[in-house]
């Protein structure tokens, strides 16, 4: 088992909608799509963002572009225009997801 970071094999972009944040997650190599499907579950993402995300996390699959979309509810301190945070638009959530450690066989 080797411990790597999600950032080592995937890139991501995040954006806001109301009080939700979405994160598109894209493996650099198509074959790592299955690794992400197995390891980066909605539950793990919810756990990872403890303290930043209050609501549920849902994962959607887009196999045609070998990508995943995570929707994080209650993630923006009320939404971009009522948030007190510096990252009021959730632009850094994608980068923050990439900090997740992943165990690889």
């Amino acid at each position: 088992m080797t411990r790597v970071l999600l950032a080592d094999f995937a890139h991501a972009r995040s954006g806001d909608k109301g009080n939700s944040v979405n994160i598109g997650l894209f493996p650099y190599r198509d074959e790592d799509y299955y690794l992400i499907r197995e390891k980066i579950t909605a539950e793990r993402v919810k756990e990872h963002f403890a303290g930043l995300v209050e609501g549920e996390v849902v994962r959607y699959e887009a196999p045609n572009i070998k990508a995943f979309n995570f929707v994080l509810r209650g993630a923006l301190n009320g939404g971009a225009s009522r948030s007190l945070r510096s990252d009021n638009l959730g632009k850094c959530f994608g980068a923050n997801l990439l900090r997740m450690p992943v165990q690889i066989d």
Binding site: R13, G18, I65, A67, R85, G94, N96
Partner: protein
């Protein structure tokens, strides 16, 4: 097969007009389409209209720089820069065109997205205006509403193009609608051609955030993106059957590759298999994307489903004030100093009996963009900024809080800097989304055309 080339001109209010000029000059496009309205832009425009009833639209350099070159090349412009006052925007563009001597230019103004005057009537008629996100009852915010605008689709814009418009100005629309409209008009798509409408929506979505599909805000190996200082905005060549190639003008910076396009494809999307717009429900999991030469991504096989019966209305309401203050500390022990400053401030707030609806602290240089996910203890940082942000009911309280920080420079830990220029309090706007019957909106949509003499 018939095709049309469409270019992106703006991704938000404040975007650079120079790449738009490049699209007009060398993008070989017939249409330049813009999305000027982020979710919260209407809140800013509403305040502008409160001060001056002629204002409330997006005022920037876009038309000053683009109107003449587009007129000369017969490029039509479609934009939602009308904001909360499309008629005012139409008059302003008319004045500008007259000054430039653009005789015969036809400016179409589309109104009807504004539901603010009709909320009471809709509620009385039994329309459920509960928030889609939290489910709350509208009565909890009724006396604080600043704007209420429905998202319009592409149909009124297609009518404007049929009437010969050179410039089409709207208020709130679904972001990709400005891009879909010229495809429908040029390629003769029907309003029940769900697959093709859906292809148009996907292309619009890929272009509505300007350079975000051509290498801007790219989360991958962004350091390899060439010539970002002159990044190109996206251009789409779309065929009658809905297939398309996304590219950018020759000679511009940036990249159009699978990975940059894919990132934009999911940007601000919830369920990719059901991207809901007023015109169609698009399935982003259906198309095939492939690289088709340098800076060309081919998109084929897009599928869509029947449009929704109800339209989304976005309601903004006043929700208190933000007061913020920042003070910075240098090495050594920058983090320790900032933490000490926070402790002192919290004790002073307590002894003064100052309370807030909410208060957060962030350490800039350590965790202001990562919160609890920040690594390490920050002990070795060169500098740290303590940012305190509070939520208050009224403006005066939000303005008072920051004044407690500057004395720390003399009374607290050493090396305190930059506590002088305090940001002014900012009004916080809550956003509320509800669904209303389509016909309630469509019956009030109007198209007016002004022709420059």
């Amino acid at each position: 097969m018939k095709s049309v080339r469409i270019g992106a001109g703006q991704g938000f209010w404040g975007d650079s007009p120079f790449p738009a000029l490049q699209v007009a000059q060398s993008g070989d496009v017939k249409y330049l389409c813009c999305d000027a309205l982020a979710e919260l832009t209407l809140a800013i425009l509403q305040k502008a209209r409160q001060k001056d009833p002629d204002k409330g639209y997006v005022e920037d350099l876009f038309f000053t720089m683009l109107l003449q070159p587009c007129y000369q090349k017969s490029i039509k412009i479609l934009t939602n820069a009308g904001g909360i006052n499309p008629s005012g925007a139409g008059r302003a563009v008319y004045g500008l065109a007259q000054k430039m001597g653009l005789k015969g230019l036809k400016i179409a103004v589309i109104t009807g997205d504004d539901l603010l005057p009709r909320l009471g009537e809709l509620k009385k008629a039994g329309v459920d205006l509960s928030d889609m996100e939290c489910g709350g009852d509208i009565s909890s915010i009724e006396d604080r509403i600043l704007f209420a605008n429905a998202y319009l689709g592409a149909q009124p814009m297609v009518e404007a193009l049929k009437a010969g418009a050179d410039v089409v100005i709207t208020g709130r629309t679904s972001d990709p609608a400005q891009f879909l409209a010229p495809m429908v008009y040029e390629l003769g798509w029907g309003w029940e051609d769900w697959d093709r409408l859906s292809a148009g929506i996907l292309l619009g979505h890929l272009m509505e955030c300007s350079a975000q599909s051509t290498g801007g805000n790219f989360g991958g190996d962004w350091w390899n993106i060439p010539d970002m200082e002159r990044i190109g905005y996206p251009v789409a060549e779309v065929w009658e059957n809905g297939d398309a190639v996304l590219t950018k003008p020759e000679g511009t910076g940036g990249w159009v590759k699978l990975n940059t396009v894919k990132e934009q494809m999911l940007y601000e999307v919830h369920d990719p298999a059901g991207y809901i717009t007023p015109d169609v429900v698009a399935d982003f999991t259906s198309p095939t994307l492939e690289e088709d030469g340098p800076n060309r991504v081919r998109i084929t096989g897009m599928k869509g489903r029947q449009r929704p019966e109800r339209l989304k209305v976005s309601i903004g309401y006043s929700d208190g004030w933000l007061g913020e203050a920042l003070i910075r500390y240098s090495w050594p022990q920058a983090m320790k100093k900032a933490r000490k400053a926070e402790e002192i401030i919290r004790k002073q707030f307590a002894s003064l009996g100052l309370t807030f609806d909410e208060m957060i602290t962030e350490y800039i240089g350590y965790n202001s963009l990562s919160g609890p996910l920040a690594w390490g203890d920050g002990d070795d940082l060169n500098e740290v900024g303590l940012r305190i942000a509070v939520r208050t009911r009224n403006k005066a309280d939000a303005a008072r809080m920051p004044r407690l920080l500057p004395p720390l420079a003399l009374n607290g830990p050493p090396t305190a800097s930059g506590a002088g220029g305090m940001p002014r309090p900012r009004e916080l706007i809550g956003l509320w989304s509800a669904l209303v019957p389509r016909e309630e909106v469509e019956k009030q949509v109007r198209l007016d055309i002004l022709e420059v003499e």
